[in-house]
């Protein structure tokens, strides 16, 4: 019957209770939508970066990681071994061997430092999504000799356009400096403008002809799914021996990995702030409820309702608010997120700003089940904490003065 009393008491000041219930529900709803979009945005950014530039993991010579010199390359024997290992893992969907050289790019107007990535276009297509980011020309489909794919951004900075010539200068593994002329055969634009400015692509064949031999510094590896990349990477690492080093995308892009790790903390913080606001709302509501009913509570204590039960009743009333509003908010949030998953949130007017963040213009939220539990626990905890002070106030009522009514 204490349940019944608590439940009916909630509906005594209907409007006030509805206001509190809605604020709890709206708070939870907002929390879920924020979580959904944060995860959606983050995952999109991450998978775009993995697809375009990072791969799920990468293999290098240890010396290359310490200092990316041209001679820190993976020998043929090492590559053979690596290929055997990768072929044996069924989650590895592809890998691409690359030449990576630090050098200079010169146009008639300007000279800049650059990173020259020598690729095998076919292998690259299986591993990265760079071909999807072409804005002009193609990604070595036409196999033009001495073609170069540069970013739109670099083209602007260097005053280059399609079919224009540029000169690449780089050192090979023996320390010989080469100077070669290439022609712009394609232009790309990824979501990562910092990457775009630095990196350009040439065909491995052309590099081999210039330096007179194969030169592999990096193997980009892609997995079937983005889930459990850490475990999958570990599985490969356990099969690999020195001097080869396998690093996951989180290690290769610490800032992306950091954002990924921080997001959880940030979201709990956001939820915490929402809960704090709710806390005061609930305390205020329950305090009013106790003060309004002080005669009745005094009477109940006078006729023999002990303090434990009075405390429990107020606690129960507060918890019930949470139990009604909590699921409502969760359902509303869930429905909203699911609807937005289909429609997406079109932020094309803010496109440039988002591109800087490495995100596309339409954002799709994601459902993250563990946050439903976290929110549920937070709401119950908040309701419990919010109940304590009003319940304590109720206990402090003196039946004699409460009944007398002053």
């Amino acid at each position: 019957m204490i349940f019944k009393v608590a439940w009916r008491n909630i509906w005594r000041s209907r409007i006030r209770s509805i206001i509190v219930l809605s604020s709890i529900a709206i708070g939870i709803w907002a929390g879920l939508v924020i979580i959904g979009f944060s995860f959606g945005m983050n995952n999109e950014r991450t998978s775009a970066a993995i697809g375009a530039t990072l791969g799920h993991s990468q293999a290098h010579h240890r010396a290359f990681i310490e200092d990316p010199q041209p001679n820190a390359m993976l020998s043929e024997a090492i590559i053979k071994e690596l290929e055997t290992t990768l072929d044996a893992q069924n989650f590895v969907t592809g890998y691409a061997k690359r030449t990576v050289l630090q050098g200079m790019v010169a146009s008639p107007k300007k000279t800049r430092a650059t990173r020259i990535i020598g690729v095998n276009a076919e292998a690259e297509r299986k591993v990265t999504t760079i071909p999807n980011y072409m804005v002009e020309g193609d990604f070595f489909e036409s196999k033009t000799r001495k073609g170069v794919v540069i970013s739109e951004k670099l083209a602007q900075k260097m005053g280059l356009s399609m079919r224009k010539k540029l000169v690449l200068t780089f050192q090979d593994h023996r320390g010989i400096i080469h100077k070669a002329t290439f022609r712009v055969s394609g232009m790309y634009r990824t979501l990562n403008s910092a990457w775009d400015e630095l990196n350009l692509y040439v065909q491995q064949d052309d590099i081999e002809k210039i330096v007179g031999g194969s030169l592999i510094h990096e193997v980009l590896i892609s997995y079937d799914k983005s889930e459990d990349t850490e475990q999958k990477t570990k599985a490969i690492v356990s099969q690999i021996k020195e001097p080869t080093v396998i690093t996951s995308w989180k290690e290769n892009s610490p800032e992306l990995g950091f954002a990924d790790d921080m997001m959880g903390i940030m979201l709990v913080l956001v939820l915490g702030i929402i809960m704090l606001a709710l806390l005061f709302g609930i305390i205020n509501n329950m305090l009013m409820a106790v003060l309004e009913r002080r005669r009745e509570l005094g009477m109940l204590m006078a006729v023999g309702m002990n303090k434990r039960k009075v405390f429990l009743m107020i606690l129960l009333e507060t918890l019930m608010l949470g139990f009604v509003a909590g699921p409502t908010g969760i359902v509303l949030g869930d429905v909203t997120v699911r609807a937005m998953m289909r429609i997406g949130l079109d932020l094309s007017t803010k496109k440039d700003g988002l591109a800087e963040l490495g995100v596309g213009s339409v954002i799709y939220p994601e459902i993250v089940p563990e946050y439903y539990l976290i929110i549920a626990i937070m709401v119950v905890t908040t309701a419990l904490i919010a109940a304590l002070f009003p319940a304590y106030k109720a206990l402090k009522l003196n039946p004699v003065t409460a009944i007398r009514g002053n």
């Binding site: 019957m1 002990n306 303090k307 009514g405």
Partner: protein, 228 residues
């Protein structure tokens, strides 16, 4: 002579303040089982204070109140709540009932606090509401009942816990004369049928007229004590 349910000796209650008020100033009183007693006196003479002391709602400065072999002046707050639940029935001037519960539920509630079984609660609530003339109104909430009907539910509630006695502070103060006589009639009947002891604080002459014993109080002392 029947058994004593309350024995009060040398009771004093002083309200501290700029001018300390000796609200109860040396009272000795014995209430026996089955009495129907009114405490009368002018406003401010200390009736409510005395009743609150008898009911264990307030602590005296000195003196003893022995109920059922227990001196309740020596009990802690929590013990007092429990003692009230099992030994004393209360009818206040107003705010007796829980507004969100029906008449039956209000009467059952106190028995629930006593951990009585559902069957017993339902049966006794039904029987008591019938006794106070509210058969057919069991499911009405206090807001749907008249002031007199509410007070009758309160009387039923007071008896539901099977107390040793019922304390009623101005139970008729808010009632018209018809409701007052009806309520008194019911209480007298319960007094006769269940041998329930009633103690009122009142300055309502209609109540005083019906009382079997009238204790006059003035300035915190007993000044008269007449039984019919």
């Amino acid at each position: 002579m029947s058994k004593a349910v309350i024995e009060v000796k040398g009771l004093h209650k002083i309200y501290e303040g700029a001018v300390p008020v000796k609200a109860v100033n040396g009272i000795d009183l014995v209430i026996s089982e089955g009495e129907f007693t009114a405490l009368k006196g002018p406003s401010g003479c200390g009736k409510t204070t005395l009743l609150n002391l008898l009911g264990g709602l307030d602590q005296p400065n000195s003196g003893s109140i022995i109920i059922d072999d227990t001196d309740i002046t020596g009990l802690s707050d929590n013990e007092l709540i429990d003692f009230r639940l099992h030994h004393i029935g209360f009818v206040f001037q107003a705010y007796n009932l829980i507004p969100v519960l029906s008449a039956t539920e209000n009467v059952s509630f106190i028995m629930l606090l006593q951990n009585r079984s559902k069957d017993e609660r339902m049966e006794r609530a039904h029987q008591l509401l019938e006794a106070v003339g509210l058969a057919g109104k069991e499911d009405k909430r206090p807001g749907e009942l008249s002031g007199g009907q509410q007070q009758r539910v309160a009387v039923a509630r007071a008896l539901a816990s099977k107390p040793k006695f019922v304390l009623a502070d101005e139970p008729t103060a808010n009632l018209d004369s018809e409701s007052t006589s009806k309520l008194l009639e019911i209480m007298l009947q319960l007094n006769k049928q269940e041998n329930m002891t009633f103690i009122f604080a009142t300055h309502d002459n209609r109540v005083i007229a019906k009382a079997k014993r009238v204790v006059g109080i003035s300035d915190g002392r007993i000044v008269s004590d007449t039984s019919k």
